[in-house]
Symmetry: C2
Subunit: 298 residues, 2 copies
């Protein structure tokens, strides 16, 4: 088994690294928050002190980090992975970041003979825990194939979608779809709630027809039970929508629905919901309803 | 088997009436367009000359019509079903119409001892043909249970959601979810297309994660192949969104996403796409992109 370094052990990275460890990979792990490393260390992973050290101790380095600057710093920064990696090693960034930054990083790594893939995921905490993530991979086809066994430990739908950066672009398309999806669920629930309809029955029947979606089935019930704990945090969805709109802007492409969803998630942030799950969008919409309508849906 | 009258043999009504006939119900059918009745008559259904005649010839009358005025006219108008129905007969409206009009019609029928259900459906032409519709039923529980065998011929998820009008309210929630869903698919495809991503690969991976939906799986591929034939027509989705927004207005409820989707479908209508499927929304978005960006996505 190849030695795998894993940098970034948050909500997503923690279960992903655990699956790799439990599949028999020798693991080296790193997180800024030392306590996040402990569960993996207690199962036999080794600790590293810097991304450089992770890279020098492993054949493949996986990064799962919040945003473009984090990945740039961890890969290209002082004591970055690029310093410890060498010809023939591979860096796989599974974070969701800017396609443009992805291409910049790939270019720097390629110059040093390091192989690189962007492989962002969809499916949230649930998908990470159940190892049922969708993984959209950009980079050279041969490098994709070499690393398929790693992806197969983490996900169930794994698609090579094009050259470097294309994994990220597809992920942004995914976030556009997801953002509109959760807004639809929220507005459907608000209408049902205000009209006095049993919300569970509404979700049951809507979720079985043309309105069926992951969002209706997975986040709908959380909204009904007022469970706003993250799966996928508002601030990360907001970051992703920003990347999608940046990309759209660079392509002179208006995306009116995405712009609205972005604005409404910004309102959710203004309500202090940054670290809640995206289903907390409904709280911002309810506040809008109360101020415009003078009545509360709940 | 009870005798069933079926009024309205359009894209949805035609396959639904056919399933009932093939399940052994004695059928009486009626459509303003005589040619639509022929396939059913050739399989043994009887023809009626008016809704009154349908009602007098059958125990249960099912209506599947475009909008509130049509249902009001067919049920309560001169030579309407109410004239031919009597105590103990049942009228089931499977159209999508105003919850308020539904309650008015139910009230008139109830006064004459006629039982009544509103039972709008989701799943489009595909669901009607495959008998996999979702059916959301409003009305008395006992009447729902009496008619469950009819619904079971037509659909697979059948839920009694509350008293008269609640089936319609739930259907409007469904349309809010569906409208946002198709907008998300359109914007995701536009972003992918403009960025040069393989659209089929994008849909494959997005459709397997948190972005998974009926819309991605069923309408996404139609958009990619530029197949804009209806399943469910733009003008009917537009009518339903209008009903949803009317209901929201009466509840002092702002639904910003639904308002945007409604406006964009109106743009699709302005482009002459009324009788195309809802996936033709992308044509209106592309026109917006061309006028703002000076480039075409295709």
């Amino acid at each position: 088994m190849r030695k795998v370094g894993f940098i970034g052990l948050g909500i997503m990275g923690q279960p992903m690294a655990t699956h790799l460890l439990e599949s028999g990979y020798e693991m080296v792990v790193l997180d800024r928050v030392a306590s996040r490393m402990e569960p993996l260390l207690s199962q036999g992973a080794k600790a590293a002190g810097s991304p450089k050290e992770v890279a020098s101790m492993s054949e493949v380095v996986v990064t799962m980090l919040p945003n473009s600057p984090d990945v740039r710093e961890v890969v290209l920064g002082a004591r970055g992975a690029i310093e410890g990696a060498g010809t023939g090693k591979t860096v796989i960034d599974m974070s969701t970041i800017s396609p443009e930054v992805t291409r910049e990083i790939a270019s720097e790594l390629t110059k040093k003979g390091i192989k690189v893939l962007d492989a962002p995921v969809s499916g949230g905490e649930l998908g990470a825990k159940a190892a049922t993530l969708s993984i959209m991979v950009g980079g050279e086809k041969g490098v994709f194939e070499e690393n398929l066994p790693i992806f197969q430990v983490l996900g169930k739908k794994i698609v090579h979608v094009g050259p470097s950066g294309f994994g990220q672009t597809v992920k942004l398309c995914n976030q556009v779809v997801c953002g509109m999806g959760i807004l639809g669920v929220c507005e459907g629930i608000m209408l049902a709630s205000r009209a006095g309809v049993d919300l569970e029955k509404m979700l049951e029947v809507v979720g079985a027809g043309a309105g069926a979606s992951w969002m209706v089935s997975n986040l709908g019930p959380k909204i009904v039970s007022r469970d706003f704990e993250p799966g996928f945090m508002v601030k990360l969805q907001q970051k992703d929508l920003g990347l999608a709109l940046d990309t759209a802007r660079s392509l002179s492409l208006p995306l009116p629905g995405t712009s609205l969803v972005d604005a409404l998630f910004r309102s959710a942030e203004a309500h202090g919901l940054q670290e809640k799950g995206t289903q907390a969008l409904i709280v911002a919409l309810e506040a809008l309803a109360a101020s415009e309508g003078g009545k509360r849906g709940h």
